[in-house]
């Protein structure tokens, strides 16, 4: 199948490492092109979220050096992240992609956002033209599996989201959230959900800051709050008891000295920073200040993970669905391997049929339309009946171990040659292999 996957996630790497390897949306196109430059990579996709950075590729021989991309793209000392990397190939890679899409690999198992993020990564790769047949097949299947898991199991239905953990923490700091001001810095699905959860507990008013003021206004309107300009952020921020940040900024937005200033201005009343951004928006140093509490994405998820035990049973069911799906996908891709042989065989026989028809037409002279039709039906019927059994055998053997022996035998017997063009496009092959060819 030649699928390869290399990455880090929240389990293997701390946020310090992940933020080094994070690839912002804007740079995704360049990164994908760079990835395609790695020898042997035929198709590529990059998933970069706050919890994971993963490079998925379909390669020529299943043995491309994806680390080469990391070295080239980040220019980092491999030592700093090497031990946090995981690499999966073939079925393992497929399984991993399925598990990620189904939110089984999330720390908060069942949280719904990851599927959207995978879809976005897929769309970006498509836009960059780095996804074609194989990854297309894999990802489309992954989305279907995710849907199946969601409908057939309860994973995600009682999702203890990051948001509710944030609310719980806010309540441990402030008691009642009634009238607690919220400042939303940057936009993002997760931060919006968190804000909504807080407001459901009575928090508010809310004010929104965004790099683009118009976006801030739209968000503010949605929450019934007010928008502030980004450069006014530091003047307004101390009014907020709870600050939710999720910007794509490459450097921290809130540094220790900001925290000190806020505390003075608000007479040391506590402040709660919910930092959902990766790389982080709030300097961890600030957590050392009395009265300032910072929870980054890892902290929140760890807190949420303790609630996750209840879902483990459903997760087990989901895992078995995925196992089943990996098997099916494997068979599907494998079956694609016999398709070139089948096509060659069909072409070969078809050529013979055409040649024989031409020859017989010369002898029979002018035929009526009905006679022509009868001849066509007769020969096609014979060809199809003869080919039916061998093609069926080939297809059913596709997923098995003897597939290569069988295709080789066919090639030898009929003196066939695989058509390279067919190799390129599994979707075309899938069509071709779905039945006998007809004109």
């Amino acid at each position: 199948m030649n699928f390869q996957l290399l990455g880090v996630n929240h389990k293997t790497a701390p946020v310090e490492v992940r933020e080094q390897l994070a690839i912002p949306d804007k740079k995704l196109g360049d990164a994908l092109r760079q990835l395609m430059g790695v020898t042997g990579v035929r198709e590529a996709m990059i998933l970069s979220t706050c919890n994971r950075v993963e490079v998925l590729a379909h390669t020529a021989n299943g043995n491309a050096d994806l680390r080469q991309f990391l070295r080239g793209h980040f220019g980092l000392e491999p030592l700093s992240y090497e031990s946090h990397l995981y690499e999966y190939r073939e079925d393992e890679a497929v399984r991993h992609v399925f598990r990620v899409a189904c939110s089984l690999d999330s720390l908060v198992v069942g949280e719904p956002q990851i599927l959207g993020q995978v879809k976005e990564a897929y769309a970006s790769a498509r836009a960059a033209g780095t996804v074609q047949s194989y990854l297309d097949l894999l990802l489309t299947r992954a989305f279907a599996v995710a849907k199946r898991v969601r409908t057939e199991t309860a994973v995600g239905s009682s999702s203890v989201s990051i948001a509710s953990v944030a609310v719980e923490l806010a309540e441990r700091i402030f008691g009642s959230l009634q009238g607690k001001q919220v400042c939303l810095v940057g936009a993002g699905k997760m931060s919006e959900i968190a804000a909504r959860h807080l407001m459901a507990k009575g928090a508010g008013p809310i004010f929104v800051a965004n790099r683009t003021y118009e976006r801030a206004q739209v968000l503010a309107q949605r929450f019934g709050g007010s928008a502030i300009r980004f450069d006014e952020l530091y003047d307004h921020c101390e009014q907020a008891d709870i600050v939710i940040t999720s910007t794509g900024a490459p450097v921290v937005i809130f540094r220790r000295e900001h925290g000190e200033r806020f505390l003075t201005r608000r007479r040391n009343r506590p402040m709660f920073f919910i930092d959902i951004a990766v790389p982080r928006d709030v300097d961890p140093e600030m957590n050392k200040l009395d009265g300032i509490f910072i929870y980054d994405i890892d902290d929140l998820q760890e807190a949420a993970a303790s609630h996750a035990a209840a879902r483990s049973k459903e997760a087990e069911r989901a895992e078995s669905i995925i196992e089943d799906e990996v098997g099916r996908f494997h068979a599907r891709v494998q079956s694609l391997h016999v398709v070139p042989t089948i096509i060659s065989l069909q072409d070969y026989v078809e050529t013979i049929r055409q040649a024989e028809l031409d020859r017989v037409r010369g002898r029979l002279g002018q035929l009526s339309a009905e006679q022509e039709q009868a001849l066509e039906t007769l020969t096609r019927g014979i060809v199809n009946k003869i080919l039916h059994t061998p093609i069926t055998r080939l297809k059913s053997a596709a997923a098995g171990p003897e597939v290569t022996t069988l295709t080789d035998a066919f090639k030898k017997i009929f003196n066939l040659q695989d058509k390279d063009k067919a190799e390129e496009s599994p979707s075309a092959k899938a069509e071709a292999g779905s039945g006998s060819r007809s004109r």
Partner: protein, 270 residues
């Protein structure tokens, strides 16, 4: 006459002292108005009393401690009203009223001597003194404990440990509120207790000896208590700093109590 005016002024300041207590259940407009009127009226009588005293003695001399205390109290009140006129806030009254009340009382104690004729009257004052002071101490202990709980909770939240018994501690701001409010309640009790103590001392010895270690330490404790309250109120000191200050105040209170053994005026046995 002067002492009568001063007594009236003291009663009005006493109303201010009550305001401090009531202010705990959130300031309401009516309360602010009452406190302000008490301050105005108190100041008028206070001013008259000072003028009268100066006129009687024929010279403006702050040599006597009582007059100095009285004038200081008056000036603090002037500043309080100026702050109100500029910033429209009566919240400094939390600290101002107890201070002015005590200063005015010291001023009054220089002018007249309290005579506690019957022994039952003496016992009554003594009980009042002990009860009030202990109420003040109790408030201090509560505030200190709240500070400790605050510290623990803060530590737990910072360390990001969310499981176990410690996660069931009350919310940080609730603890903080308890600590601050108990201090607020404690201050008027401390002040009144101190006043009662002075009345008893004066009734017994004719005048209050401010150089006595017991009285000095008591006043010092009271002053630090005031600082504790003030830093919390103005700078919002909480957590570690508040805990240290509360612990310091409590230690001082214990020293002041231990000073009974060195004090000439505070022997428990007659």
């Amino acid at each position: 006459m002067a002492n009568i005016w001063l007594r009236v002024a003291l009663s009005f300041y006493g109303i201010g002292l009550l305001y401090v207590l009531v202010a705990l259940t959130r300031t309401r407009e009516i309360l602010n108005r009452i406190a302000l009127h008490a301050a105005y009226l108190g100041m008028i009588f206070h001013f008259v009393a000072i003028v009268e005293t100066v006129r009687q003695s024929g010279e403006i001399s702050l040599a006597s401690l009582s007059l100095a205390a009285s004038v200081l109290g008056f000036l603090i009140m002037v500043v309080f009203l100026m702050v109100y006129l500029i910033y429209k806030t009566t919240s400094p009254g939390i600290v101002v009223f107890p201070v002015v009340f005590l200063l005015t009382f010291v001023g009054l104690s220089g002018m007249e001597s309290f005579v506690l004729a019957s022994s039952s009257a003496r016992t009554g004052w003594l009980i009042a003194h002990i009860t009030l002071i202990f109420a003040g101490y109790a408030a201090l202990v509560i505030s200190f404990s709240a500070s400790l709980i605050y510290l623990i909770q803060e530590h737990v939240l910072k360390a990001k440990r969310s499981t176990g018994l410690l996660s069931r501690l009350p919310a940080l701001q609730v603890t903080d509120d308890i600590g601050f409010r108990s201090l607020l309640i404690g201050l008027p009790f401390m002040t009144a207790g101190l006043v009662a103590g002075m009345v008893i001392a004066q009734a017994r010895f004719g005048q209050v000896n401010f150089r006595d270690p017991k009285i000095l330490l008591s006043l010092l404790t009271w002053a630090v208590y005031l600082i504790l309250l003030y830093t919390r109120w103005s700078a919002g000191w909480r957590g570690r700093r508040a805990a240290f200050l509360a612990a310091g105040t409590f230690a001082l209170a214990i020293v002041a109590w231990a000073a009974n053994y060195f004090s000439a005026v505070h022997r428990l046995s007659p």
